[in-house]
Symmetry: C2
Subunit: 616 residues, 2 copies
C-alpha cells in the first residue's frame, strides 16, 4: 500500500511534469499540452508508484516492463516522464522539443531511446503491446508486463477492437491498457463522451477485465494497477475518466484546445496556477528481475530439393523454406490472417507450432503484433493474401518509423489467381511495399528462388516483402543458383538481342515462352528475372537496355508503382524507350490463362509488343 | 404471421437454391458451396418471406430495400436467390458461374445488376450498408431498409466494429445485419465458434439489438426479421447459429471444406440427399412503396475571390469550394474522420450541416460509408489526413470494383507539415490512389486551382483523389485560369529552356523560386505545374522534355509511385533523361523549410540539381 508520503511525492512529480508539458509546448509553438495534462496521474502512478519495473540504463533489457503511448501526440507527457526519471533535463526538453534534429520529435519515434515503437497514427499501440505481451508469455517466457496508454478518440479505430479480441483470445494477463477518457477529440466530443460505463460494457464483452477509475485520483489509479496484477487469464483495461487540460483552469475540458499550445503569457498564467513546483524532485523506477530468455542450441540448416520436372507454387516453397529455417533460427516466428492453408504458412506452423500465431482475419492488428515481436528481437514473417495487406497499409507505413526487422509475405498475387475475381487479387502490393523507406521487395518466380530469397530475408535486417503466386510454376533454377537482395538473373541473352524483356513471378514464364516463339521468328531478345524490385539491379538493367535498345516490362500488377515503374526509375537517365505491359483492364473471374491474355501480359502479348517495338 | 403453406413454399425454395449452389460450384470447379449452404434459410426467409421489398424490374429504384452480401464468397447462394426470384435461369447459373466474361463472378461485382457494391474482401459490407441506411434516413428520407449478410470469420475485422459503433451512433434502425455463424473459417474454427452469447454480448454492448436465432429454423428467422421491424432508435443484428454445408451430410460442419467444391460424384450424392427438388418453384418479392426522394430547386453557383497578395492553404480552399458547390448540387455530401478542422471540411459542414457526417477516427468505415452513399447517387467527398487514407486502402481498392462516383481528399501531405513528424505526413498517398483503375489524382498548388479542381471533381463521374497542403501557399492563378482533369500548366517557358522542372503542390513554389535564382545565373528552365497526376498531360510533358532535353521532377512524397514515376511513365518512350527529387531520407520533426531542405526538395536543391544536370 502507498503511504501519504508516497502520494505527496507522486503529486510533486505530477506538478513537475505538468510544468514541463506547458513550457516545452509553448517553447515549441506546437504540440498537444491538453492531451498530455489529462494523463499525468495515470502515468506518474504507473512509473513512479513502484509498479513499472524498468532499468533506465538498459532500455533494451529483455525483462523490462514495456510502455507504449498509443496516443502518440502526448509526447510532452512522455518526455517529461523521462525528465522526472532523471534521464533528461527539463532544460533539454524545453529547448529541444520538436526541434529539427532532436530526438524529441512531435510524435514518438525510435530516435528517443525509451520509445519501444513509433506511434502517432492512432489505434495502433494496443496491437504493438499485444505483440510485446505475446512475446513475454509465449516466446521469451519472461515475467515483464506491457502497458499501453490509449486516447478515447482512438477507441473508434477498428484496429483497437482487433487487438482487444486477440489479446483476450491469447489470454494475455500480462497486458494492461489504460484509456485516458478526457471526453474531447480533435474537433469536439467523442462518440461516448464521459459515458465510462459504455466503455466498460464494450471492453468487458470483449473478454477483458475493465476497471473504471477517476484518472486524477492517485489512490484509485494505483489501486487499479494493483488489481490488474491479480487478474488471471485475461488482459486488463483501466478506463480513466479524466479532464483534458487538467491543472490549468482556463483550458480544462474546453473544446478548441486540441493540439494547441499556450501563448507565452498564457503559459505564465498556467504555471502560476500550478503553484510552487519543485523542479528538482525526481522519481525512482522499480527494477526488473535479472531474467533473460533461454538461448536455444544450434541446429544445422537442411537442404531443399525440388524435382526440376515438377511444378511448385512459390507460396508452397515459402512455407517449405520457413519450416526449414525455423528450427535453425529460434527468432523466426510466423503470423497469419486465417489463411495459412493458402499462404502455406501452415507448413511452418506444423514444423514449429509454438512459434506460429493465428491472427484471424484482422490484418491491421497482425501487422502491429508482428512489429511488437520485432521490437523484442524476433524475426516475424506475417502472411496473408497480397490483396489483404492493403488492409494494414497504415500499420505497415508506420512500422518503418520503428526501424524494425519485419517480414511481410503476400500470396495470391495478380490476376493469375483466376476464378475468385478481383477482390482477391493483389494488384497494388508492389506499389505499396515499394513506398516504404529502405524496404526490400522480392518477387520470386520459382520454388528455388523462393527458398533462397526467404533465406536472404532472414539474413537481412529491415522491412522486407515477398510476393508469392497461387499457381504452381515450373522449377527454373538449380540448388547452386545464387540469389541476393538487389540482384536479378539474365536468363536469356545473346549478341543479337534486339530488346530486353524484364519480368518477375508468374509472367516471367510468359516472357520465356515469348522468347521461344520469337526465336522461331528469328528475333533474339534478352530476358531478365527481376526477382528483387527494391533494391533493383540498376546496372544490369542499364547495360541490357543500352545493349538491346528497347525494354519491355511485364507484370501481373497494376502499372502504377509496380515493376514497370521500378524499372523506369532505374533507367530514368538511360535514353532507351521502355514499354510497359501490366494489368490495365478491370480484372474479372476466369482461368489464369484467360486473364493473362485478357490483360495483355501473356506470351502472345509479349511477342506482339516486341514485334511492334521493333517495327515488324 | 406465416402459415404452414408459406413455410412449405420457403422450404421448397431453399431446396431449389441448395440444388443450384451445388451444381453451379461443381460445374465451375471452384467456389464456396459450404459457406453458401449455411445461409440458405436466412436469405430465403428474408427475400421470399415477404419482408424484403424490391422491384426486380428496377434494381436502381430508390425505395427498394437493399441487400449486401458482406460474405462475398457466398455468391453461389446470391445468384441462386435470383434464380429463385425468376431473374436468371438455373441453367444459366450452372453454365456461367465464374466463367470468363460472365456477370456471375466468383465474388460479387457490379457486372451482376442485383449487386449493390462489390464485396469479397471481408468486413466491408456492413459499412456499405451503413451508407445505404444513412442515405435512407438522412438524405433521401425514404423508408427502405438495408440488410447485410455477414460471415462469422469476418467479425474479427476491426472495420466491422467501426461500422457497429457508427450505425449505433446514428441510431439507424433501418439497418439489419445477419451474421451466419457457421463456426468454421477458412482453416479452422473461428475465435468464438458457436458461442452465440459472446456475439450477443459484444454486439449489444455496441448499442445494437442482438437477436440470436437458429439460422436453419424458418419460423425463428422470420420472427427475427419481424422483431427487427419493431426495434426503434438502434440497428438490429440477427445472430444465427448455422451449420456450414447444411443439407449435405458428408460436408456438414466439417473442417477442410472451405472454398472447396464437390466432385461430380459427390455432387450427385449430395443432390440425392436433397431429395425431390421442384426446380420450377419460384419466389415472389414484396414490392416497395412508390416513393422517390424530393428533388431540390436550382441554386446558382457563387464565385470565389482570393486576394492575389494573400496566402491560402489549399485545404482551406477545398473547404471553401465544397461549401460553395454544396448548395448548388444537393448530391454533394461530406464525411470526415474527426479532423474537419484540419481538412477544413468544417466549412462545408457549416454551409450544409444536414449533408455533413462526422465519421470519427474510423477511416475504413468512412470509406465504405462513402461508397454506400455513392451507390445511391450521392457525390461523397470523404476527407482525412492524406497519411490516414492508408488506413482504408483495402476499402479504397475494393471501391473501384463498384465503379462508384466517389471523391477522396487527403490533407497534410508531405514533410512540409513540419513539426508533427512522419506519423502525420502523407508520403505514399499519390502512389496509393494512382494504382486504382481509372482513378483521377489531383494535387493543386494554390487556392484558385483547388477551387476549380473541386468543381471538376464534382463534374467527373468516378473515383477522384485530391491532395491538399497544410501550409498556406501564395495565390498563383486568377479566376479566369482554366483547369481540367488531365491538364497541366506551363508556368515558365522560353526558347532558351535547357531543362524542364515538373512539380505540383507545395514544391511548385520551390520550383518557381529556383526558376528565379537560375534566371539570375542566366539559366532558363521550363516550369510545369502538374496538378493532374492521373490522367497526366503526356503530350505537354513530352513536348517540354524533347524541347528542353532534360526533366527534373520534384515532389513532397516518397519517390515510388508518386509524381516522379508518373512523369517517367508518361515519358517512357522519350529518349530524355529524367531526374527525380523526392523524399528519400527518413523524415522527422522540424519546420517546413528545414524539412524541404533536408529532403533536397527545396529551391536550393532544385537549383543544384539543374546545374548538375547541365554539367555546370
Amino acid at each position: 500500500m502507498a503511504t501519504p508520503t508516497d502520494f505527496s511525492r507522486l503529486a510533486k512529480l505530477g506538478a513537475l511534469i505538468r510544468h514541463y508539458i506547458l513550457t516545452a509546448t509553448t517553447n515549441a509553438g506546437s504540440g498537444h499540452p491538453t492531451s498530455s495534462l489529462s494523463a499525468v496521474e495515470l502515468m506518474v502512478a504507473l512509473l513512479f508508484g513502484g509498479r513499472f519495473r524498468y532499468d533506465p540504463e538498459r532500455p533494451h533489457f529483455p525483462n523490462n516492463d514495456r510502455l507504449i503511448f498509443s496516443k502518440g501526440h502526448a509526447t510532452p507527457l512522455f518526455y517529461a516522464l523521462w525528465v522526472a526519471a532523471g534521464k533528461l533535463t527539463g532544460e533539454y526538453l524545453e529547448a529541444n522539443y520538436r526541434k529539427f534534429g532532436s530526438p524529441l520529435e512531435g510524435h514518438p519515434t525510435v530516435s528517443f531511446p525509451y520509445v519501444e515503437a513509433a506511434t502517432g497514427s492512432l489505434g495502433q499501440g494496443l496491437s504493438v503491446g499485444l505483440g510485446l505481451a505475446l512475446n513475454a508469455r509465449r516466446l521469451d517466457k519472461l515475467p515483464y508486463r506491457t502497458y499501453v496508454l490509449l486516447g478515447d478518440s482512438e477507441m473508434a479505430e477498428g484496429s483497437v477492437w482487433e487487438a482487444l479480441e486477440l489479446a483476450a483470445h491469447y489470454q494475455l494477463d500480462n497486458l494492461v491498457g489504460i484509456v485516458d477518457i478526457n471526453r474531447l477529440g480533435q474537433r469536439g466530443e467523442t462518440m461516448y463522451g464521459w459515458d465510462i460505463q459504455s466503455y466498460v460494457n464494450r471492453i468487458s464483452a470483449f473478454g477483458w477485465e475493465a476497471i473504471p477509475v477517476d484518472g486524477h485520483s492517485l489512490p484509485e489509479v494505483l489501486a487499479a494497477y494493483d488489481k490488474a496484477l491479480t487478474v488471471q487469464g485475461k488482459p486488463t483495461m483501466i478506463l480513466a475518466k479524466t479532464i483534458k487540460g487538467k491543472g490549468v483552469s482556463f483550458i480544462e475540458d474546453q473544446n478548441g484546445w486540441h493540439g494547441k499550445t499556450l501563448s507565452r503569457e498564457e503559459c505564465d498564467r498556467a504555471l502560476q496556477e500550478l503553484g510552487e513546483v519543485d523542479l528538482t524532485v525526481r522519481g525512482e523506477l522499480a527494477r526488473p528481475e535479472e531474467l533473460t530468455p533461454e538461448p536455444a542450441g544450434p541446429v544445422p540448416l537442411a537442404a531443399f530439393d525440388y524435382d526440376p520436372k515438377t511444378r511448385v507454387a512459390t507460396r508452397k516453397a515459402y512455407g517449405n523454406a520457413l519450416a526449414r529455417l525455423g528450427p535453425v533460427n529460434p527468432a523466426i516466428v510466423s503470423l497469419d490472417g486465417e489463411v495459412s492453408n493458402s499462404t502455406m504458412a501452415e507448413i511452418f506452423a506444423r514444423a514449429c507450432p509454438e512459434r506460429f500465431f493465428e491472427m484471424y482475419i484482422a490484418e491491421q492488428n497482425m501487422a502491429d503484433v508482428a512489429l511488437g515481436l520485432a521490437t523484442r528481437g524476433k524475426i516475424p514473417f506475417a502472411s496473408t493474401f497480397a490483396a489483404f495487406w492493403t488492409r494494414a497499409f497504415d500499420q505497415i507505413r508506420m512500422a518503418q518509423y520503428s526501424e524494425p526487422n519485419l517480414k511481410f509475405v503476400g500470396s495470391h498475387a495478380g490476376v493469375s489467381i483466376g476464378w475468385d475475381g478481383p477482390s482477391q487479387m493483389g494488384l497494388e502490393d508492389l506499389a505499396m511495399f515499394r513506398t516504404l523507406g529502405g524496404s526490400v521487395v522480392l518477387y520470386p518466380a520459382d520454388a528455388v528462388a523462393t527458398e533462397r530469397l526467404v533465406e536472404e530475408m532472414v539474413k537481412h535486417k529491415g522491412i522486407a516483402y515477398m510476393r508469392t503466386t497461387r499457381e504452381a510454376t515450373p522449377i527454373l533454377y538449380g540448388p547452386a543458383d545464387q540469389f541476393q537482395i538487389g540482384g536479378c538473373k539474365v536468363l536469356r541473352h545473346s549478341q543479337q538481342d534486339r530488346a530486353t524483356v524484364v519480368s518477375a513471378g508468374i509472367t516471367l514464364f510468359e516472357a520465356l515462352a515469348a522468347y521461344e516463339a520469337l526465336q522461331k521468328m528469328g528475333i533474339a531478345i534478352r530476358v531478365i528475372d527481376l526477382y528483387s524490385l527494391k533494391p533493383i539491379a540498376a546496372a544490369t538493367l542499364m547495360d541490357a537496355a543500352q545493349r538491346t535498345g528497347a525494354v519491355i516490362t511485364v507484370e501481373d500488377h497494376y502499372p502504377e508503382g509496380g515493376l514497370g515503374e521500378a524499372v523506369l526509375s532505374a533507367l530514368a537517365q538511360a535514353a532507351v524507350p521502355v514499354h510497359s505491359l501490366a494489368v490495365t483492364k478491370k480484372p474479372k473471374s476466369g482461368s489464369p490463362e484467360e486473364l493473362l491474355n485478357y490483360e495483355d501480359i501473356s506470351r502472345g502479348a509479349i511477342v506482339k509488343k516486341v514485334r511492334e517495338v521493333l517495327g515488324l
